[in-house]
Amino acid sequence: MNTVVAGITYRALLGRRRILLLLLLPLGLIGLAILLRVVGSADQRSAVLLMDTFAIATMLPLLGLIAGTGVIAPEIDDGTIIHLLSKPISRPVIAGTKFLVAASVLGLFAAVPTYIAAWLLVRNEDGIAFGFAIGVLVAGIAYAAVFLLLGVITRHAVAIGVIYALVWETLVGTLIQGAQKFSIQQWGQAIAAQLSDSPFVDAKVTLGFAVPALIIVTVGAVLWAGLRLRTFSLTGDE
């Protein structure tokens, strides 16, 4: 953890109008929750549906993508990463710091709005709000690590990440049963299901698989990103 690197990264991620991009989807989520309340269908079923289809399946991967790649990809893109890499800071520490920044941003912009949206609908019934907030937080941390790694490996990180989050996790995940095991969303869902007593929350993977998978993916991706940065070579644009 290096506080100067963290400060620069926070400024790069949240500075100027870029914070609007991070606010767009959480505000959409809270707006939908308010709409559900206004038309009077604020029950557990619709709350869980909103969490499943919007919070976990749409908002979380996209925010993970923006935050995870946003902490490193723009710097690689315009070449300013060279100023950071030429300083006597260990490269794994740089990767670790950037991961922590991305994870904390996801906690603030994904987990907190998820809790607020679920709380607006069902208050604290059956631990739905708490369960989904923790599930989103944990899955968000894993997304931050994976997309950070993707941002170090390829220049098309955002497009590849979108394809993973949309095509693999939603399309392939629903068509091929086995593919659901390799989906960060489903692991977050498993945590939410564990923490909530509501009969509407169900998970397709067991907790015994989800927790080790989350830890291995997160730690592995951050370590690999650090290793990649050690032998990083800047290449020209396209």
């Binding site: 549906l49 399946a57 923006i66 315009d78 955002v158 979108v162 396209e238």
Partner: protein, 285 residues
């Protein structure tokens, strides 16, 4: 003392092609750039893999028509709506490559030092993106139609539906490209542009069914229909449905009447206005 050296500058004696050709050259250059032609192999991967994904349903459709002698699995009018995620990813991935580099490297004044005006520059970019999106949707449609004609299914071919859906593909392409370029021209960073376009699309595609479902369950049936108009693909499908009488390809009916069409025109005009404002500012730097 002083002496003028002849260092060999030559005058240009060739034909002067005029304004139209500069715009055409810029359009063709942008269109090639969208598909990565004339660039590295790495920048061809993304557009061409998405084109391949778009062609897959067409191939499956033709195979089904040939083997079971039944109409294919995707109706012409519903093709764009069913494949909307792929079209949106293509737009998000490629729209920033059209506008971002010129903004980032501040080469706009170089373009404008030639007889190209700002509106011609923006027009060329919009035309290129529109053409690319139109090809992305219309080529698989045409492939299915040609397949249907060759296989000669019992009953008349769906010629009317095919031409209707190709016309709507052009409208959809224009709507998406103006919007995508307007959003991605706001940032000179490509990655950020991709994420912005994707966020805007996902917000509309994920929120709309939730809004529709909620309103419909609560008994606001007539209001619920308006929710579909918040997503560009369903909006254009609604226009198609009122123009050509095709069924709705959303999970519920659309509001009829001229309002969806008016909305499409208004949205295109709004996106064009954003582009004009943005480039007036960018050109003055």
């Amino acid at each position: 003392m002083s002496e003028i050296y002849d260092i060999g500058y030559r005058h240009y004696d060739g034909p002067r092609l005029g304004r139209g050709h500069t715009v055409r050259a810029l359009t063709v250059h942008s269109l090639r750039g969208i598909f990565g032609l004339g660039r590295t192999a790495r920048s061809k991967i993304m557009p061409f893999s998405l084109v391949t994904i778009m062609l897959l349903p067409a191939v499956v459709s033709i195979a089904m028509m040939a083997l079971v002698k039944q109409p294919g699995l995707i109706p012409y009018s519903g093709f764009a709506v069913i494949m909307q995620a792929v079209v949106a990813i293509f737009l998000a991935a490629q729209a920033p490559t059209v506008v971002a580099p010129d903004l980032r490297f501040r080469v706009l004044p170089l373009y404008l030092s030639r007889p190209v005006t700002i509106s011609e520059y923006v027009g060329a970019k919009v035309a290129a993106m529109t053409m690319a999106l139109f090809l992305l949707v219309a080529v698989p449609l045409t492939l299915i139609y040609v397949g249907e004609l060759l296989i000669d299914l019992p009953g008349p071919p769906g010629t009317g539906e095919f031409f209707g859906s190709v016309a709507m593909a052009l409208v959809l392409a224009l709507l998406l490209s103006t919007f995508g370029l307007a959003i991605s021209s706001l940032t000179p960073r490509r990655g950020l542009g991709v994420a912005s376009v994707m966020a805007a699309y996902l917000l509309s595609s994920a929120a709309v069914p939730v809004i529709y479902g909620t309103l419909e369950m609560s008994g606001y049936d007539s209001q619920a229909r308006w929710a579909w108009l918040a997503n560009p693909f369903w909006l254009v499908d609604a226009v198609q449905s009122s123009l050509f009488g095709t069924p709705s390809h959303a999970e519920g009916p659309y509001p009829g009447g001229p309002i969806p069409a008016v909305l499409v025109v208004a949205l295109i005009a709004a996106a064009m206005a954003v582009l004009a404002l943005r480039y007036r500012k960018a050109a003055s730097r």
